[in-house]
């Protein structure tokens, strides 16, 4: 064996590990309401009245504790979108889709989610969530947001 001859070696691995993330009470309430009732909750700041969805137990704007929950949506307005024509392996959906930022009715912040990429949803569109029939208490209990019909326009 020639010790002077350089050799390149690659070690291969595919790590995976189960995790169990604590959601905290506020996010836990949001996910429970979504799973059990198909409703969307937001946290309302008692100091500056900012309504945030996704909710958090603190106000990101002024730093106050924000433990009051209010219902928002279900309709919302698309603030921005980014369309994907060909989903890659591991993409959240296996059909063409858009990433969208949605300002839910009654909320002061936007939510990141998905929408169809068929021309029906674009910035300014009013959309509503399409819930999955089987829900497990995660944000993906909403499959995506689809264009809201004329009747539903304007929010709850």
């Amino acid at each position: 064996m020639d010790l002077k001859e350089p050799r390149l070696v690659f070690l291969e691995a595919n790590n995976s590990c189960p995790y169990r993330w604590s959601t905290g009470e506020i996010v836990g309430s949001f996910l429970t309401a979504l799973r059990d009732h198909g409703k969307l909750l937001a946290s309302k700041c008692p100091a500056c009245y900012r309504v945030a969805c996704p909710p958090a137990s603190y106000c990101e704007e002024c730093g106050a504790a924000a433990t009051e929950l209010v219902e928002v949506g279900p309709t919302g307005v698309v603030v921005s979108s980014a369309g994907v024509e060909e989903p890659w392996a591991g993409a959240p959906l296996d059909v063409p889709f858009c990433y969208v930022l949605i300002r839910l009715a009654g909320a002061d912040t936007s939510l990141l989610h998905l929408a169809p990429n068929d021309g029906s949803v674009h910035p300014g569109s009013t959309v509503r969530p399409e819930l999955r029939p089987e829900r497990n208490g995660s944000i993906t209990d909403i499959k995506w947001f689809v264009a809201a019909g004329e009747v539903e326009r304007g929010g709850p």
Partner: protein, 371 residues
Amino acid sequence: MSRRDDVNVAEMVREAALCAMNDAGIGPSQIDAVVIGSAPEIFEGVNSPENWVGPAVGAGGKPVMRIHTGGTVGASTGVAAFYHVAGGVFDTVLAVSYEKLSDGVAQYGLSACYDPLWDRDFACGAPALVGLQSNLYLSRYPGVNEEHAAMVAVKNRRNALNNPHAQLRREVTVRDVLDSAPIATPIKLLDCCPTSDGAAAMVIAEDRTARRLCPRPAWFAGVGTCSESPYVPHVDMAYPESCVRAAQQAYQMAWVYEPLRDLDVAEVYEAFSFQELIWSETLGLCSPGGGGRLVESGATAMDGELPVNPSGGVLSANPIGATAMIRQVEAAMQVMGRAGDRQVPGARKALAHAWGGAIQFSVVTIFADEV
């Protein structure tokens, strides 16, 4: 900066560290402390680089500190080393940062950075995030269009021809960019940075030592850092406040009043071409919505009023953890008059910008040829 199958992480970092120390004419024994920066470990799948990279750069037995602020980490590492010295605690500090993206899957790593409670399941990666940012920006300013972003790509990819460290060195046309494969609208393939392996290092020394080691050092003239919400939709991505504030802090410290006039060159973190338009506005090089006209006018070209990204920018190489320090190194080399074929003649004040952590962090550093 390219694919480095011939070295492991520690060896690659060592290469950059030795390069910086050789340039300063010193060895590891003259370094008082080391600051190491890297992006999330998930990119390489190897945890706690601070444990073993130190000895590889000859810093066994020295104080070592690790910095971690997403994509801005390289710049934060330089700033932390500056604080070490400016605070008067250490005399000579080595700052190193790196990324070896070829060891893992970059977009998997980027998607895993998102909050598991809210958006990790969407596997958003970087192009989709910046697609949302770009569409938000385009819809706010009807005067800016995809062609303006393509002009950024054309300019920076041409500049990269002058940079031997760039990974992508191929000229493209506006038509090439517009016709390239769609990734996440409005982002197309040639609007995107590559994934890279690379490392960067700087020796930062106090006044007298710097003057002794170097005939024409680059001085930290201004530093600004700022962070905002970690949740992307909570940030005004078309005009991130963190960048505006970081720039204001750095400008105040460096006596920059009119950035376009007072700066001679800028290196900004445009991982996607649209971002150079946005950063030129948040950095105050033009008014909000003026980014398209700025690049179109040629003001940011190599022979323009304020060349932006003479190195070819991030579009030409993106070893994430090192990228923001590369902006600092490039800016420093400009005011030292040592930027080779990409030198902006007579550059005396240079800006380095970085964004990171899902558009949460901004760092602006200004280097000058005198204090």
